[in-house]
């Protein structure tokens, strides 16, 4: 918990959270001795890691060299191949000239085979990525991927991977300290994705067994050791239906979905990051997995309209509470959702002794999560919890498209719709819009109590 906050000057992301000098100046002004980059923004910028160290501060993360090696996907694939970590069959093309690059990619596509994926070497978040199923589509897709990569990353290098359909996205959490110890904390399954972004994550993977966990864990440790990794990182793999697994990429920072690992292993990953950055040995012992944890990402978006981001006021923001429920958020009731930042409002995480119990707890928690004033994906996530592949644990990276090929729509419920009409008409008659319809939790008509705000989390 921060005991001091500094307002960054500026209006845009570039002027605030991406302004390296301003962040380092804020650290100096508050006598901070270290910088934790979180996730997103500058967390995987090697030059920021260098700038922090050059300013005499501790960088809570891996070295700039490790970030660079893993950040460039083509270099990462080559490094992993050399370290004996299985990579997805494919080819890297190192050509600066656009015409020569497209020709080399086309020739490589014939060797790799279809269907295939085109990926930007500097890519992430689905940018510069194209799936190609037919050779006739290749030239247009390659030109489009290259153009998008240049626009997004200033680097048009593209590589090809075979498209492995029916695969699961399994990632391994690793920790490495400065005393030469590297361990893994088991896996997370994050197969359920929309627009190449995860929305439903869980640990342990529902189809994993101890042997496969150990094999993937050792491959992840080898990947980290190959770049002399220090700190917390995540090695992502595709797990094919045949049980083969292939390196996808390594995220050289803490992941959004790290809480599910924390809940099943009992390891506080951020605490370990701080210990490691300070030069202490990590404190976690042998891997022990207990129970099951699920995380969903609550987005301000219209799931029924192609998951388009939505904006508006958070007129009511009332998360669920109770045993085994954790909420990581940076918003409060009364805030406005603007188009300027990522539309993720919160991460809702549940833990229970078994997967069916965790899934049931998530259903209940989503039913009780009230957000009014801005459209969110809560009902989509709730619907997902009842989908057969999710219930059975047989999800793949195409589950959402397979379930709703024509887009998702909320299940019809004329009964509830009529009842909601009654509530709206009743509330209008009573004039409830002029005051809170229900007093906020923990607040009543008594004088303002400062303890009501003690547990607030600020952005």
């Amino acid at each position: 918990m921060a005991d001091e906050a500094v307002l960054l000057n500026g209006e845009t992301i570039g002027e605030t959270y991406l302004d390296q000098a301003q962040i380092i100046a804020a650290a100096a002004a508050t006598n901070a001795t270290a910088i934790h980059p979180g996730f997103g923004f500058l967390s995987e910028r090697a030059e920021f890691a260098t700038a922090v160290k050059d300013a005499g501060l501790i960088w809570i993360g891996p070295s700039a060299e490790a970030i660079e090696k893993m950040g460039d996907k083509m270099t990462a694939r080559q490094t992993m191949r050399a370290a004996g970590v299985p990579v997805i069959p494919g080819e890297e093309v190192e050509e600066d000239d656009e015409h020569a690059a497209l020709e080399a990619l086309r020739q490589a596509s014939e060797r790799v085979g279809y269907p295939l994926l085109l990926k930007a070497s500097s890519g992430g978040g689905g940018k510069g990525m194209r799936a190609v199923y037919d050779p006739a589509e290749f030239d247009q897709a390659a030109a489009g991927a290259r153009r998008e990569a240049v626009a997004a990353f200033g680097d048009g290098r593209i590589y090809i991977e075979r498209l492995l359909s029916g695969s699961k996205h399994i990632e391994i959490q690793v920790l490495a300290d400065q005393h030469g110890r590297t361990v893994h904390l088991g896996e997370r399954e994050c197969s359920v994705q929309r627009r190449h972004q995860k929305v439903f994550e869980e640990a342990p993977g529902p189809t994993m067994d101890p042997e496969l966990r150990e094999a993937m864990g050792q491959a992840a440790v080898a990947a980290a050791e190959a770049v002399d990794y220090v700190g917390a990182g995540t090695v992502e793999f595709l797990l094919s239906p045949t049980g083969e697994f292939f390196f996808l990429e390594m995220n050289t920072r803490i992941q959004v979905e790290h809480p599910v690992t924390e809940l099943v292993t009992g390891v506080d990953i951020v605490r370990e990051q701080l210990r490691i950055a300070e030069g202490q040995p990590m404190s976690c012992g042998p891997l022990m997995i207990r129970g099951h944890a699920i995380e969903v990402r609550l987005y301000a978006e219209d799931a029924a309209n192609g998951f388009l981001p939505s904006i508006g006021p958070l007129a009511v923001f009332r998360p669920p509470e109770g045993s085994g429920i954790r909420l990581d958020t940076g918003v409060r009731e009364g805030d406005d959702v603007t188009p300027n930042y990522d539309p993720m409002l919160a991460k809702l995480i549940v833990w229970a002794p078994s997967r069916p119990e965790a899934l049931q707890k998530m259903r209940r928690a989503l039913d009780e999560f009230v957000v009014l004033g801005t459209t969110t994906n809560i009902e989509f996530l709730r619907d997902l919890c009842d989908a057969e592949p999710v219930v059975k644990g047989s999800t793949t990276t195409t589950t959402i498209d397979d379930l709703w090929p024509n887009g998702w729509n909320p299940p019809a419920s004329p009964l509830l719709e009529d009842a909601a009409l009654l509530v709206a008409a009743g509330a209008e008659t009573l004039g409830l819009h002029r005051r809170n319809s229900v007093a906020p939790a923990g607040i009543n008509s008594e004088p303002a109590n400062p303890f009501n705000t003690v547990q607030r989390r600020f952005p």
Binding site: A420, A425, G426, R435
Partner: protein, 110 residues
């Protein structure tokens, strides 16, 4: 207690009947408890708490894990389908236009 709301099928007229401190509609009952707590007894016998917020003319209602939006049409106004909030260009007459010194304005519409 009559209200009109917009829907995809056109305006919906709602006439509420009183039931004690609450209201009844289509077999559903709405009860208002202390401090504005809203409880709904559905026509199938289930009960649920409701949460509401009004943003502009739209009532946001959370009920039984679902969120619904009902846009209220003010009495006397034309239907929401006709207007649906602001329209562009805004109908009206410009009575005054302020400009910084050294800037000029050219009229392109009458």
């Amino acid at each position: 207690m009559q209200h009109t709301f917009a829907s995809s099928d056109g305006p919906v007229e709602v006439t509420l009947a009183r039931l004690g401190d609450g209201f009844v509609l289509e077999g559903h009952e709405l009860t208002v408890h202390n401090r504005g707590r809203l409880q709904v007894r559905l026509s199938d016998g289930r009960t649920s708490l409701a949460h509401v917020a009004k943003v502009g003319d739209v009532w946001w209602v959370h009920l039984n894990g679902r969120t619904f939006r009902w846009e209220r049409i003010e009495p006397g106004s034309s239907s929401a389908e006709d207007e649906s909030g602001l329209v562009a260009p805004m109908p009206g007459r410009c009575s005054k236009c302020s400009l910084p010194r050294a800037m000029s304005l050219r009229r392109v519409h009458r």
